[in-house]
């Protein structure tokens, strides 16, 4: 290839060779992804420092950090987080287990879907917000209320995901199981279950998200402790820093749980030989 052509190629707008591209500075994913929140944080601090927004409306990040430390130091935050975490885990464990079983029932049996499907959809349609006023009369305001609401919140997405996962098992795999002459039990454990795993996990992640929403809803509307209550208390005391601490704790735990579930899923699927 002649020099003239090389130059011609470059001049006519061909992108630079990979070598040049590699030498040129390109912001990495991580840098960009952390730049955005840092910039937002900076903006927030600047707005507060310059007094553009009243501190009772938007306290400075430093103030929020200080409140966080104070609440953490006197144990209030930990106590709230502990009770919320307890409710969440019980609700998730119960709701996911029941939802999984119910989803299998709906997926496996047309008749179950026909008979139970409509009432299931009706129950699913009423959000936590609607259940609270009615349930509170039946079971009072104690832990039972929160557990029921959280269980229901997890139950619904888990049941739907499990049912869909059951139905999405490739027909080819089911046929394979039959032609191999596997027992029903073996077909379920060796074929159906593994192929349902990804969808069931996404249902589980959805359930955990729903659990958080319901947890905060019922702690804000009908509770005397927990992170949601902490935020309402912050509102009552007109201390936005406390509210924001609550939001951060809720958001961070939501992300953490989601990541944990993703990781578990990846582990399980990797062990099953999948490339994830």
């Amino acid at each position: 290839m002649s020099v003239v052509e090389t130059l011609g190629g470059a001049a006519s707008g061909l992108p630079a060779s990979p070598l040049v591209r590699r030498m040129g500075w390109r912001p990495s994913r991580a840098v960009l992804a952390t730049a955005a929140p840092l910039a937002l944080l900076g903006l927030w601090q600047a707005v507060s420092t310059l007094g553009l927004v009243a501190p009772q409306i938007l306290p400075a990040p430093s103030r929020v950090a200080q409140t966080f430390l104070e609440l953490a130091a006197d144990g209030e935050l930990l106590a709230a987080a502990r009770i919320s975490a307890w409710r969440l885990s019980v609700g998730l464990a119960l709701g996911a287990t029941l939802g999984f079983a119910f989803g299998i029932l709906l997926g496996a049996s047309r008749r179950a879907e026909e008979w139970l499907g409509p009432s299931f959809r009706a129950i699913a349609a009423v959000p936590a917000l609607g259940w609270i006023p009615l349930l509170i009369l039946l079971v009072g305001i104690d832990e039972m209320l929160k557990i029921i609401i959280l269980t229901k919140a997890c139950f619904v997405p888990m049941a739907i995901a499990t049912r869909d996962a059951w139905r999405a098992v490739p027909r080819g795999y089911a046929e394979l199981g039959r032609t191999l002459g596997l027992s029903r039990r073996a077909q379920f454990t060796r074929i159906t279950l593994p192929s349902m795993t990804p969808m069931v996990f996404s249902g589980l992640r959805l359930a955990s998200g729903q659990a958080f929403v319901s947890l905060v809803t019922c702690e804000m509307l009908a509770a005397t402790e927990g992170i949601g209550y902490l935020m309402v208390w912050g509102r009552t005391l007109f201390q936005m820093d406390m509210v924001i601490v609550g939001m951060i704790v809720v958001g961070a735990s939501g992300i953490a749980l989601d990541q944990l579930l993703r990781l578990t899923e990846r582990r399980i699927r990797a062990r099953m030989g999948e490339h994830v």
């Binding site: 006023p133 509170i136 209550y229």
Partner: protein
């Protein structure tokens, strides 16, 4: 035209299924047009908002510059002031009658019987404050009972479901007695006026500084309303006005049976006011509702009220109370 704003925004506590209506002095001033007539011919519009979210909601509205005047309980306005809201107290108001009800089968007849029981109330409100005062007088210390923080609706459900033994609250508790779910064991108007709700009529400092004349007119109208409501002949009409919020007249009548409106809506910023607000400040600090107590002398501005009282011999209607500090 520069002397008056185009609109003046007033806020008070309210209830109702549709648009909420007020259940206190401002509702009367609103319905009877006492403040509006002060502004006759000026073109000033009055805008009333009745907050169902009560104290915190009014604080938020002040913070967002959506309100110029508001009446609300001492505890939330102390919380707001301490958090940096620049308000000024123009007048005081007693208003709210506080009740305690107990489950009939719990063997509770007086406040003293609440020792060792589960008591529900909404924390960080004047009810919380008044309840602790009343209980202290009855010899029940905070350590003697279990306090459960519940909002109004949940209190009703909780005592009905038997989750708590007694509830402190306002007149929304009275239907429970009718339904046989609970019986009234305490009424502040009947048993201990010092444990009634107490609060203030506040203006934002910005408004007062910008429109002193308008502020004066609002206070004049407000005092006029207090004067009108103090006349026992008007009681029935007051109940009618308040019933727009959804509570039937008989219930309002019953809840106010022991209330002397002249005293309840006494606007004076006198010794009694000082005493009650100091108590509320102490309470707020003790309960860690505020990080630092606001300075009362700087906060209250009696000048507008004094002008209003000088007119038409109102001075005599509400003599200064000494307020023997306890």
């Amino acid at each position: 035209a520069e002397d008056y704003p185009r609109t003046i925004r007033l806020g008070d506590v309210g209830f109702g299924f549709g648009t909420p209506y007020g259940v206190s002095l401002q509702a009367v001033a609103d319905a009877k047009g006492f403040i509006a007539e002060e502004f006759a011919g000026t073109g000033v519009q009055l805008e009333w908002t009745y907050f169902t979210g009560t104290g915190p909601a009014i604080n938020e509205a002040f913070a967002n510059k959506q309100l110029d005047f508001a009446s609300y309980g001492a505890v939330p306005n102390i919380v707001g002031k301490a958090a940096g809201l620049d308000t000024v107290i123009l007048a005081s108001t007693q208003g709210t009658n506080i009740f305690a009800v107990a489950r009939p089968d719990a063997g509770i007849r007086t406040l003293a019987d609440l020792k060792g029981k589960k008591v529900a109330l909404q924390k960080a409100t004047i009810i919380h404050w008044a309840a602790l005062e009343a209980l202290k007088k009855a010899g029940v210390e905070p350590g003697d009972f279990t306090l459960v923080d519940l909002k109004n609706a949940d209190q009703l459900a909780a005592i009905t479901a038997g989750s708590v033994d007694a509830v402190f609250g306002a007149d929304f508790l009275l239907p429970l007695e009718e339904k046989g779910v609970a019986k009234v064991i305490f009424s502040s108007a009947r048993d201990d006026a010092d444990a009634s709700g107490f609060g203030g009529f506040l203006v934002s400092r910005d408004f007062r500084d910008a429109y002193p004349e308008a502020t004066q007119k609002v206070v004049d109208g407000y005092v006029h309303a207090a004067e009108w409501i103090a006349d026992p002949a008007n009681r029935d009409e007051v109940f009618q006005i308040w019933s727009r919020a959804g509570t039937p007249v008989p219930l309002i009548a019953r809840s106010n049976a022991d209330t002397d409106f002249k005293q309840a809506f006494n606007p004076r910023l006198d010794g009694e006011f000082q005493k009650r607000y100091r108590s509320a400040l102490d309470f707020s600090v003790a309960q860690k509702l505020v990080r630092r107590a606001p300075d009362l002398t700087e906060w209250a501005d009696p000048s507008f009220l004094d002008n209003a009282l000088k007119q038409k011999g109102r001075d005599a209607l509400w003599p200064e109370r000494r307020g023997n500090a306890s």
